[in-house]
Amino acid sequence: MPVEIPKDTWTGAVREVTIGATAAEGGTRATTVTIGGATTMPFMHFEGSIPHRPVIAVEIVNHRPDDWSHLLLDAWGDAANDPAAWAKAAEQAGADLIQLSLNQTGADGNPITPESAVTATKAVLEASGLPLLVFAPGQAELDNELLVPIAEATKGERIVLGIAEDKNYRTIVAAALANDHLVSARTAMDVNLAKQLNILIGDMGLPLDRVIMDPTTGALGYGIEYGYSVMERLRLAALQGDAMTQLPMLVTAGYETWKTKEAKVGEGVPQEWGDWTARAINWEVVTAVALLESGADIVVLRHPESIARVRAAIDELMAVPAAG
């Protein structure tokens, strides 16, 4: 019996956002990455167009982090001692983008300086041709002190500067505006908060095709369902034509996962949790895949094995199924 395939009709689309600029475009990147553009819910190839696949950003730190699980540091080996080497290793592991996180303290234990932050950013840009995201430590004043000189020193690279939040977006947005960069706008798991921040950023004159939104998520077991549903709601609103939700979404699946006890702790945990390394990687992969299903355009990951697995999942999700 012939069954008509039920297609939803959508009027809106997610904006296309291009990260990175090649030499011809005023930067130095070997490649650029374009995300967004979808006219349907995640991977519904039968009813709309999904011109760009979701991508994987790999998180590296400006110096060997002392608060990361040794499972991660062991996996990255000596590369984690140096951001340039780490960026290369991340590229080899299958990254589409590099996300450089700036730690509050430098390698010598002293507070990070704008000079050292700029040096680390430039080293990463030289070591890898992938487009870059730079996330400051998340303290309003310090973030501004670091991101402004970074933005100036890398003018034209179309870096994603983060993290722009309601309390702290003006300086970052202005720096992006003046130096041909993008921003990542983070709000706390709420559709309206996300819209408001996008409006505020747009009002400063930054074109919205230079904004990515990070609606925040919890990891598996720690509130993933909130992030999951907020993302579905944002994407539905975007497809229904709400312009302020039509931005690609970024989720820090790796950061959230590696905060959890399931990933961080290997001893003194219930036996039912099973093998530590396998569990930690599962935790990151399940978190990332669930959030891809709910609309993530960029997933930021930490473990090299997770990168490979999530990449394989994206390949399969993007393989357009035969009609039928």
Partner: protein, 444 residues
Amino acid sequence: MALTGIQIYKLLPQTNCKDCGFPTCLAFAMKLAAKQVELSSCPHVSEEAQAQLAESAAPPIRLVTLKANGHEVKAGNETVMFRHEKTFYHKTGLFVRVRDDEGPDAIKARVAPADAYAVNYVGMDLTLDGFAVESASNDPAQFEAAIAAVRSASQRPIILISRDPAVMAAGLKALDGESPLIYGADAANWEAMAALAGQHSAPLAVIGATLDELADLTQKIQGAGVEDMVLHPVATTLGASLALNTQIRRLALKKNFRPLGYPLIAFAGNDPVGETIAATQAIAKYAGFVVLDHFAPETVYSLLVLRENIYTDPQKPIQVQPGVYEINNPKPEDPVMVTTNFSITYFSVANEIEGAGLPGWLLVTDAEGMSVLTAWAAGKFDAERIAKAVKQFSIADKVSKKRIVLPGHVAVLSGELEEELPDWEVRVGPREAVDLPAFMKQAL
């Protein structure tokens, strides 16, 4: 699809006799549409109208139950595409597959630990739901032996896998009195399988690669008298599987398309890595039953938690019991920290302290399951409530240093709390749980 009040009214006697307790038939019809009364309250409704109303009241996705020895796994009766629209109801049943050519001893050895597995998450014990037994040998006797081996180690519901009706008949005989899932019926064997499903009152899985094929089969099988079916839309990639599952759910919910109004089953695949990913998608996107080929605690734990998270009612967040929680065996001189009883808030805070290996007393107040900021905004987490919890749970008797740490988000409460608790020192902690260990090391 549910009928509107007006549509129901047209089926009623329209005499306004008031025997139902309502002044008019229309008033009763409205209540019925809102599911606030039962049709049986009207003694005068015709049989024909009854049948029509029953048909329209049937859920768009049929509820199917697998039963064995007091265990039940239900799937179906779902009402929404996205969990935020209402909630997902029947948690995806997770099954582990064994094959009869593994031999009874190996089967027993695999089933026993999977059957015994229970992991605590947010105060709940999560377990697997049952086992799938596949006839790889195509030999009825060997199939029966494998089923007996499973039954010697587990009483949970079973999915029987064979396309050969003779083998399936042997399997069903071995499980007499239970309702296993028969997997399954295809274009070649459906008549014989439907007959078996009828004889044993067991639900039947229907296998097809396209919507057309599946709808054809379910209609034929329904014609043969079988009502309880489960669909297996066969797909070779994650993307294809997602598309089929979504299309079937949409047809059932939005078009009330009966031939596909059944729960779905998914086979997560045979390599352990791909299996975790496929099962993740299946849990999030509409499978009622998922069959795994491996049992590994580190995989099953993550999938059970995902299932819990996806199927949580968005209107009713999971709460923890208010009280004093001891973390890392605190001593009287260790700090007291306060937070709300929203499970995720509690677990984030407890996890940070515990993960850092720092001892402390965590006072969890009754904030009606809201997070710190939301509860504060709603007046459910204020100085008065915190002081009340301090007294109610007699935390002062447990500690030598009367010092309490407030979440940074509610720093504004510190003055009032000092007034409420005059002999306590009130400190303001960090806003985020992740910064708590550093705060405890440096400031306490």
